[in-house]
């Protein structure tokens, strides 16, 4: 029951934070998140990596409402475990990033932060649909509190929009999931109510093509908003901009991944024929999002908004890889979930550190900060490059694989003969090319940001001119020096190290997700017979053909 421990630990520490005086809140939260991180590392050591596709590892099940088929059932495969690890890693970094930024209502802040971590871990660990959904929705509450209490000027509106927008979408998801459960509960299927994700995904592909289409639409309604996919992305820039640093980091690092994880875990296996049929549409939206959000990034003046829009652009790659429905695309997508969490999380931390010193996010009022904050600028350039997708850093591996997945996945390659590198699918080179232009655009806006913020003549907002002594700033900014403190560097270094490590040596990670990813691909393609005009494929023994997606 390592996973139960991982979920409960932050909750216990949240209670401790709430019970102890406010001045201890951040230290307790730091200890709590570090303990959770240690527990997570222990869980990773216990995990049987040779059987990475087994989704029930480290878990267990407790009856909840057995009459309805509900169980508190947890368990992970390597994909889920890696995302839990990402969550656990970002925990202490968020606490460190908020160390001096949050000065009031500390208990509320850190307690909810810990609750949020528990909820996110719960999402990835769930093996029960209802438990998943409860955790999935519960993440909204802590996030709502964090944004609406600790955000900047327009926080209320942002929090409300974030809550209502994502909540509305997920209600449709609930409807879709319940339909699936109802379908599986039919006598000719499983025959009894069950919410076990494994059972559901095994039976659900037998839904008719039309049913699958509607279920996919319902699932995407929630997951696409969460990702966010163009054109349902507009809550994100607002929420990111207004959220406190830790909120932005969690939001970009993990919460967005709930959407892609949902697609990976539910949409693909439950409605394979529909996914295959609508893959060009979904991929089209992703690609439009990549280019569109990238261009919008380019004209931002608010640096945090720029990074927020860049998330929209980046997550487009992630979804593109998912709907490529081949090994490269899915591996790339899973890698992207982790890599984006690292690099964009770090960018938000950096922006937060800058904001703490200058109290502005406007690139009109800031410039050339490398002269004042060389260490900060170094990290900024580093993480911008990771985000740009420079080979050797983490972003490249995932971005390349996503683009490659889309590029390969085309039945149309058949026109050119039996090409060894082609995979079945309905995307193709143009999707790869369009996504590839996103790589150029990423360079445009991120270098624009770096060029404005770090380089050029030093520009500081009024009151921070060069003539000002350091003492003055100390008084105002809670004793923060001009450049980063050891604590802040400590928050960034693990991320930087991981970005580099995953860029130079990603193969352990790629190996670990190979089995689950390939199992998913086999499940989807094996069950999508007749869907989307794809050629017939061998079906794994024991599975029943779908009635056809058309």
């Amino acid at each position: 029951m390592m996973l139960a421990l991982l979920i409960l630990l932050p909750l216990v520490f949240a209670l401790v934070v709430a019970a102890r005086p406010a001045e201890h809140a951040r230290s307790i939260a730091l200890v709590g998140t570090l303990v959770a991180l240690v527990a997570c590392v222990a869980a990773m050591r216990t995990f049987d990596w040779s059987d990475a596709a087994d989704t029930g590892q480290l878990g267990g099940s407790v009856a909840w409402l057995p009459a309805l088929g509900l169980h508190l059932s947890v368990g992970v495969d390597s994909v889920a475990l890696l995302l839990i690890a990402l969550t656990a890693l970002l925990g202490p970094l968020c606490v460190l990033g908020s160390w001096t930024a949050i000065t009031e209502q500390r208990r509320t802040f850190y307690a909810w932060l810990l609750v949020l971590q528990a909820a996110m871990t719960g999402v990835f660990a769930s093996r029960d649909l209802v438990l998943f959904y409860v955790c999935f929705e519960f993440t909204l509450i802590p996030m709502y509190v964090l944004i609406s209490l600790f955000g900047s000027t327009n926080r209320r509106a942002a929090a409300t929009k974030f809550f209502l927008y994502t909540f509305t979408g997920s209600l449709l998801t609930l409807a879709g999931l319940l339909y699936v459960a109802w379908f599986v509960a039919r006598p000719e299927q499983h025959g009894a109510w069950t919410f076990d994700i494994g059972v559901l995904t095994a039976h659900a592909p037998r839904m008719s093509g039309m049913e699958q289409g509607w279920v996919l639409l319902a699932l995407l309604a929630g997951f696409a908003v969460k990702v966010p996919l163009f054109p349902v992305h507009t809550w994100l820039p607002l929420a990111h901009t207004e959220a406190p640093t830790a909120g932005s980091v969690i939001l970009a690092g993990v919460l967005l991944k709930l959407g892609t994880y949902g697609i990976y875990r539910f949409a693909l296996p439950i409605a394979p024929a529909a996914v295959l049929e609508y893959a060009p549409l979904i991929a089209g939206l992703s690609v439009v999002g990549i280019v569109y959000a990238g261009l919008v990034c380019w004209v931002q003046t608010d640096v945090k908004k720029l990074v927020a829009y860049s998330s929209v652009s980046h997550l487009g790659f992630c979804v593109l890889g998912l709907v490529a429905l081949n090994g490269a695309g899915l591996s790339g997508s899973v890698m992207y979930m982790i890599n984006h969490g690292l690099s964009t999380g770090a960018l938000f931390l950096l922006v937060g550190m800058m904001y703490e010193r200058y109290h502005t996010r406007s690139m009109r009022e800031l410039g050339g900060l490398a002269a004042k904050m060389p260490v900060w600028a170094t990290f900024m350039v580093f993480f911008a490059m990771a985000s740009v997708g420079l080979p050797g850093l983490n972003g490249f591996v995932s971005e390349f694989l996503c683009i490659m997945g889309a590029f390969q996945a085309d039945d149309g390659w058949g026109r050119f003969g039996d090409l060894p590198g082609a995979t079945p699918g309905r995307l193709g080179p143009w999707f790869g090319f369009a996504a590839g232009t996103g790589v150029i655009i990423a360079a445009m806006y991120l270098l624009y940001m770096v060029g404005r913020m770090c380089f050029g003549p030093l520009i500081e907002p009024g009151g921070h001119g060069g003539a000002h002594g350091h003492g003055d700033e100390h008084a105002r900014d809670g004793g923060l020096p001009a450049d980063l403190t050891g604590r802040e560097i400590g928050a960034l270094l693990p991320l930087a190290a991981l970005c580099l490590a995953l860029g130079v040596y990603p193969s352990p990670l790629l190996d670990s997700i190979r089995e689950p990813v390939n199992a998913t691909v086999a499940h989807v393609l094996g069950n999508a017979e007749g869907g989307g005009g794809a050629p017939a494929r061998p079906v794994a023994p024991g599975t029943v053909h779908a009635e056809g997606g058309q």
């Binding site: 060389p374 694989l401 390969q408 040596y505 990603p506 790629l510 190979r514």
Partner: protein, 730 residues
């Protein structure tokens, strides 16, 4: 971090099978080959450690020189041990490895593995060799920035050599891409070295983005290669390409699949971006914002030749494509001409050299395209030496004259005491660039020029004429610089920078103030010290000695041909392809002629003559009778050619054109999209939120607050429901 990595490896012990299985035709390379890229990487780490500990001495430079020299030494060792043998592959570790099946093409595997053949060897020798020398030069050149800036410079410098080594030594296209983008990053970092200068920041950004546009082509080409052949490893790729090469050689060019013919076209886009060819050349002249050693190493000698390297490395693919090589030839020739015309009209000597680099890169591409890969590679090799020499001479001038680069404000530099070596080195460089008889540049350029008249292809003889004209122009603008700046009446005016390159992150570097003092009103140029002089002397000697490579191994068209023997760019393909690609079958036509003479022999005389004419014109216009730095005889002539000179000086307004046609519209589009996002996309969302609120407002009056009202409503509701139920039971 290393510990963490190791831990992770152990943790995720998902077996993937011991890799490094060798493809046919390759042998396992010795382990020390990995040190060639690793030593510069060690240099990066060392200089970064210096930066962290705020080392304020020249230690980072010496560490870098040491690491790079070690790398060069190993490259030389590799030359003696490995060149000439089969490709030696040294496996490092697995990098990206994704498998989705057992069959061929169902596994993408790209390792950190280094392949060493003659082509690699050629590039690595001059990359590491020049990097060592230029690092030594930079130790003096950058001395005013000793401190964090110095460390930053050398860290990026070493990282560049590491990336370049990855690019050149990669055994698969993906690792080449890593190096490819890595050198782009270093180029970005080093162009933007003086990061307080907005023009430097803009130039750095421009270089990176322009390169990325090309990189997209390379990326797409790689993906297409994978789809077509199912592998990105050279050793597995060439056997698969071989049948197509054979088909073309047998005259069945139509047997080559469309996609195979498309791959080199996509690679070409990448090569044009990296090597600053039309239409992506505009970043290179701007890149001169970087410190001069960077311009010499990255933007003249090594990185910009990566495009040529890519063509050479994937030469079999280019050979089988119908359109790839003619396009390369024409783009190369036109770029050579265009850049030369711009170079003639500039006043900034570093920019002139930059345009000359663009122009010479055009020659190299022509060389590749005209089926004289040896000529192309030889020109890369000789150009690396003499262009580095030229840049470093310009750098010495810049260093000594407070950043002065305007050829109208400097004169007779080479005649001043302490500047002799600079002057002589410059002369050697200029003679090479101008193609003066019996210099290295002369031989390498001739190989290309002659083959333009030999090889049959669409308009190739026109290309030959373009290249000949360009050779004349090159001689002119090269010696324009020499005659105005290095000889003539001694006259100088300091530049506006306190020293060659002034900026540093910290304004309060008291210890640097000493450097400023001497640049008061009584300006004295400070002559280069031993490091700069030594490097210039060595490079000048190298430039001359490079000519020797033409005379050895005559059976392989010289030393470079000898090296390329057995590599993908092997020239033995040529003869057969001349026939295959040419329309006619006649030997005479295939071998072409130059007014009835054998082009290879005639070209010695023709190009010598043209080079001498160019030098002569420069001598007449810019040396004879010139009494001041600012004016020359050319000034009187210029008005007679009308606005053309002004247009050339304005770089034919290509930058402005791009700005107006691409950048501005994109900028406007982005703003429009931003507005669209705000008003329409988000507007719809807000409308969705607005609708329930409006409905609520409409039905609100029904909630009167009177209890009985609610009760009546409820009763009515129940009654209504009952009626419905009753109706349904009917």
């Amino acid at each position: 971090m290393v510990g963490g990595l190791a831990g992770m490896t152990g943790l995720m012990a998902a077996a993937a099978g011991g890799d490094g299985a060798l493809a046919a035709g390759t042998v396992a390379g010795p382990w020390w080959v990995v040190l060639i890229p690793l030593l510069p990487m060690a240099g990066v780490v060392l200089t970064l450690v210096c930066a962290i500990f705020d080392v304020r001495s020249k230690a980072p430079a010496w560490m870098s020189v040491g690491c790079l020299a070690g790398s060069f030494g190993l490259a030389v060792l590799a030359y003696f041990e490995l060149a000439g043998g089969p490709t030696a592959v040294t496996f490092g570790f697995r990098w990206i490895d994704v498998a989705w099946g057992e069959g061929p093409g169902q596994r993408l595997s790209a390792d950190f593995a280094f392949a060493f053949d003659g082509l690699t060897c050629l590039w690595m020798l001059f990359v590491t060799g020049l990097a060592t020398l230029i690092a030594l030069y930079a130790s003096e050149y950058m001395s005013h920035d000793v401190g964090v800036g110095y460390c930053r410079f050398f860290a990026a410098f070493n990282l560049f050599v590491f990336s370049m080594a990855c690019l050149v030594m990669a055994d698969n296209l993906l690792l080449l891409f890593l190096g490819w983008e890595g050198v782009g990053l270093c180029s970005y970092l080093l162009i933007g070295y003086f990061y307080k200068k907005p023009s430097a920041v803009a130039a750095a950004k421009k270089a990176f983005i322009m390169n990325r546009i090309g990189d997209l082509g390379l990326l797409m080409g790689m993906l297409l290669t994978f789809v077509q052949f199912g592998t990105l490893k050279y050793a597995e790729l060439w056997p698969l390409v071989e049948p197509f090469v054979a088909a073309v050689r047998a005259g069945h060019a139509d047997e080559v699949p469309f996609l195979v013919g498309l791959i080199p076209v996509l690679f070409m886009v990448g090569a044009f971006g990296k090597s600053a060819q039309l239409p992506l050349y505009v970043w290179l002249p701007d890149a001169m914002e970087g410190p001069t050693p960077v311009s010499a190493l990255i933007h003249a000698a090594t990185m910009v030749t990566a495009g040529v390297y890519l063509v050479a490395r994937t030469y079999p693919l280019f050979l089988v494509s119908e359109w790839a090589l003619p396009v390369v030839a024409w783009v190369g020739a036109l770029t050579a001409l265009l850049a030369a015309t711009i170079g003639m009209a500039q006043f900034d000597i570093k920019r002139i050299m930059a345009y000359s680099t663009v122009s010479q890169l055009g020659y190299m591409f022509c060389g590749m395209a005209l089926l004289t890969s040896v000529g192309g590679a030889f020109h890369v090799f000789t150009h690396a030496f003499f262009k580095a020499t030229l840049f470093l001479c310009c750098g010495a001038v810049m260093h000594g004259f407070a950043g002065q680069l305007d050829l109208r404000r400097l004169s007779g530099v080479g005649l001043m005491p302490g500047w002799r070596i600079v002057g002589l080195a410059m002369l050697v460089g200029c003679l090479n660039l101008a193609g003066f008889p019996f210099t290295a540049g002369f031989f390498s350029k001739d190989m290309i020029l002659a083959d333009a008249f030999v090889t049959a292809g669409p308009g190739y003889s026109a290309i030959g004429w373009i290249l000949l004209v360009t050779a004349g122009l090159t001689a002119y603008y090269t010696f324009r610089v020499f005659f105005r700046v290095f000889v003539g009446p001694v006259e100088y005016e300091p530049g506006d920078e306190h020293h060659g390159d002034s900026h540093d992150a910290h304004d309060d570097h008291a210890e640097h103030e000493t450097a400023h003092v001497e640049h008061g009103h009584g300006f004295h140029p400070h002559a280069p010290g031993w490091a700069i002089n030594l490097v210039l002397a060595l490079l000048a000697v190298g430039s001359i000695a490079a000519a020797g490579a033409y005379f050895v191994y005559a059976d392989h068209h010289g030393w470079v041909g000898h090296l390329l023997h057995g590599s993908p760019a092997e020239p033995t393909h040529e003869a057969a392809f001349v026939d295959a690609h040419g329309d006619g079958d006649g030997h005479a036509e295939a071998h072409g002629s130059f007014f009835g003479l054998d082009p290879h022999k005639a070209m010695y005389f023709v190009s010598s003559a043209i080079g001498l004419v160019g030098i002569g014109v420069a001598f007449w216009l810019h040396y004879l009778g010139r009494t001041t730095a600012a004016t020359s005889r050319a000034d009187a002539l210029l008005p007679k050619v009308g606005p053309v000179a002004r247009w050339a000086q304005g770089k034919w307004y290509v930058d402005e054109l791009y700005d107006a046609v691409i950048v501005k519209p994109l900028w406007v589009l982005s703003h429009v999209l931003h507005m669209f996002d705000k008003l329409v996309v988000d507007g719809l969302v807000n409308a969705a939120g607005w609708l329930p609120r409006m409905i609520g407002r409409a039905v609100r009056p029904s909630q009167g607050g009177v209890l009985h009202g609610y009760a009546v409503q409820m009763a009515c509701g129940i009654a209504f429901a009952l009626v419905i139920v009753w109706l349904m039971t009917l």
